[in-house]
Symmetry: C3
Subunit: 381 residues, 3 copies
């Protein structure tokens, strides 16, 4: 099989990506800890993965690998003895990176540690506190409004101690050392579009490409915790960066919105031209937007001192869909057909990049003698 005759059964692939997402959904991930390791283990059933562990305290550019966080359980029992918050029902209930706690306190003492979204009263928000030691619970605003006065039992059975940050890498060598980079992030807990969708898409892209014999490019798939993980990989792989010819950050690729391409910082690179070409000719709606520094890991890959040719191909951008960073970004919000459509657009982009070549005239001095080449006979004037 080569890039010219891939015949993918998109419906089947969409279904397989969705099934994998369902399997990954319950795991409580963070930027460090066993959640990422379990995730990588499941992915390695589909593709060859090289797992890296980077110890707490390691310097990575301007950053330092933080302590490793793990959590077994967390709950709140109300004055009536009822378990009103239960980590086992949704890992979003605990603010990610919460330090351990096991105590009793009044509602007034507890409230400053409770996070809700008054404008979206039915959903649990997703909150983190990676670099400042803190603890907290997230819950729906409706539940919050109904809490009664009295003494609460508050338990977070977590650990925060020296350990390591885990990331995984799938490298598929091609005919040349020139690379296409696909990066997704594995640090978000039970959230589907942001970004289990990117994780399962990357996995099935890697799985498909590994079966293509004739590929000019080498392909590198990164499964890293967002921000700190991308920075870690860049910091530890500077000698490889010059090989990266094109790249995409895969995020938010399973929602019903149309495709959105966020250009590379430069904006006029071959990856920009390739994706634009795919979107222009796909027959579907699409948006193309300029690079802006905030966002996902394209901010790391495109930072001035790294300057990699990396854009981001998504559906509805993070923060533009209502379900973003809430419990509503669940298995109902993402659909297999959208995952399959994103898969198709990524593969078409690779196809264009694989076939984008220039030819060098080996007989530039005078007219070629076409009889050598069997093309046409001599034409006199």
């Amino acid at each position: 099989m080569d890039f010219d005759n891939i015949a993918n059964d998109l419906e089947k692939i969409g279904k397989e990506m969705y099934d994998l997402m369902t399997e990954l959904y319950p795991i409580c991930r963070s930027i460090t800890g066993d959640g990422v390791r379990k995730t990588d283990k499941i992915l390695s059933n589909h593709i060859p993965l090289e797992i890296h562990e980077v110890p707490t305290g390691t310097n990575v550019f301007d950053w330092i690998i933080p302590k490793e966080w793990n959590i077994k359980d967390a709950y709140i029992i109300d004055p009536d003895g009822e378990k009103i918050i239960d980590f086992k029902k949704s890992n979003l209930h605990v603010m990610n990176y919460s330090v351990p706690i096991n105590t009793k306190m009044t509602l007034d003492e507890l409230k400053p540690h409770m996070y809700t979204i008054p404008e979206k009263p039915d959903v649990i928000p997703y909150r983190i506190s990676y670099y400042k030691e803190n603890w907290g619970f997230c819950l729906s605003h409706n539940q919050f409004l109904n809490l009664k006065e009295g003494e609460y039992e508050v338990v977070i059975d977590s650990t925060l101690k020296d350990g390591s940050l885990t990331y995984a890498e799938c490298f598929l060598p091609g005919e040349t050392d020139d690379e296409i980079l696909i990066s997704c992030y594995t640090c978000h807990p039970s959230l589907c579009n942001d970004n289990l969708s990117g994780v399962v898409l990357s996995t099935f892209l890697a799985k498909t490409i590994s079966k293509i014999n004739l590929r000019r490019y080498s392909y590198r798939f990164l499964f890293v915790p967002e921000t700190i993980g991308a920075i870690t990989w860049l910091s530890q792989n500077e000698s490889k960066l010059s090989n990266i010819n094109h790249g995409l950050v895969a995020t938010c690729v399973g929602d019903p919105g149309c495709l959105t391409y966020k250009k590379s910082r430069n904006g006029h690179l071959n990856i920009d031209r390739a994706v634009t070409n795919v979107l222009k000719h796909c027959g579907d709606d699409y948006k193309i937007i300029d690079y802006f520094p905030p966002g996902s890991d394209e901010r790391q890959y495109g930072s001035p001192g790294v300057n990699l040719p990396v854009g981001s191909l998504m559906r509805t951008p993070y923060s533009e869909f209502q379900e973003y960073h809430t419990s509503a970004d669940d298995l109902d919000f993402v659909k297999s057909k959208h995952l399959a459509d994103s898969f198709s657009k990524y593969m078409k982009t690779f196809y264009i990049l694989e076939n984008n070549r220039s030819f060098i005239n080996l007989q530039p001095k005078g007219e070629p003698e076409y009889n050598h080449y069997g093309r046409r006979s001599y034409q006199a004037f």
Copy 2:
């Protein structure tokens, strides 16, 4: 005499060019053989010529010098014993580079070797078969339609064997090593506009310039078989190419059409600006067209690996006049006054190039002290 006070008697020069063309017209030329040698011999009565012979089998860029072709006679005798085709009456009757033959055959056997132009039934076409061994006769379509059934005697008394390709060069050194190149081709048999007109124009340009004492540029006139001859010269003179500052291919300069300038491949060089200036201010109609790869030897001079600044100044371009490559391109089609007009435009171009200079400020530091230079007194503010 210098370029500033040339006073050419254009009518006289036009007449002399026409007379020389009349002398050259009957000779059967090809890309090799005695026709070119006889032509060069006649030209050397007018200008100093250095003759070069390049042996069969010599590699020239992507090409190989072919066997040398010569012909003494050729004819066809019809079933009634009548000589219906006679090389001695017109050398266009024989397909150029025809291998020898001396046999009898039926009309049906002969027909595949006969060439006519049904849309122009009165003229004999000009046909060649340089790089594929073949034989053939050219005749008017009206004659072809009246051929009767029966046995024909078919004779071509030609030779095709190891020999050499002949080209001639007239180099007129100037004050500097910077050169202006004029190239024309000497391989076409009895055809006047294409390109005896270019041959006689080049000859009289060289003759005139040789009498000009003060010339900044050196002038190089090439009389080469088209395509293979230009490639041969380029291949054997690569060390001289950097001297060539400007160049023109002289072809189709005797017909009644207006002047046409085909730009250099670059299109913005000094030769392009000089010719454009002459045409804009001449008061006559003219056309300026972009470079295109097919054409005459500007395709060799302008090929990417050679990249010389060479355009082509002609009247009606080859293939745009009805008489092109037929027996109608004869001594009636070309007129001395058109030759003279082309001569004038070429000389004006040389005049502009000779006088196109820049001056360097030798006192760039501070204001010059004009009293030294007698121009004006000191002006204070």
Copy 3:
């Protein structure tokens, strides 16, 4: 005091500049001689000045330092014995650089040596003859018309002999070797706007800047005879030129007109942008004009072989005000408030140049870890 908190009392500075101008006004200056020396002596009461003497005959670029000119007295006594022209009343009466004369002659013999402006019949013109030995008197056209026939006694008690050209320089070192150059000319006799105004402005700019402790740039103030003096300084200081980052020629800065900026020859340099910014935001009328080769010493600083980034910030340009180069360019024409306004615009320009800096990203690889810098906490997507 630093550039960020200069609080100049403009009214006081305007008055002081005007007083200094009043003191300098009576001195008869020229491109050489004691007038320049006396002027520099007075200036050195205000700022530290290094005085240079360059001997007659010294080569400076295309020029040669001329003989030194000095004058004690000059007058004309008419046929009635009346002293009708008296150098002691106005040094403009004598053509600058007049050779000595002491003789009697008729009015007809005298007239070719008399200079007036018929269109401005009340004023004495300013005339020079630096590089051609000559003598002459300047007077109002009305006086000229009333001269009576008869014998005139004509005396010019001047000397023209080997000596030297005098120029002065005030250099104020800053944190860096990068320099801002301010140049004015000290060769004009009793003329206020052109250019005692530039002399007193430069003096008070230097005086003010010398009190500013924190200055990034070094400042160099030149007090040179126009043209020959600027050329002399350039010729003798070529090794210092690469330090000059920005420069202005200070001339005609005391008249009532609005500010006029004549751009550097390049026109797009930082000095052009800085002055333009000051003028755009000053709230007053202003003009910005392109560089043109004639003018004051920006023609020397901006000459192609020197190519310094020097513009000229003036009020009404020389030759655009009626009083130019006449006795009407006097202490009434220039006002202290205009001098003060010019002072303010120059200082604002220096302020912009001092603060025009670029910052280098010291953490270009990946996103900075903002917690280090106390700006904001980690933002995840």
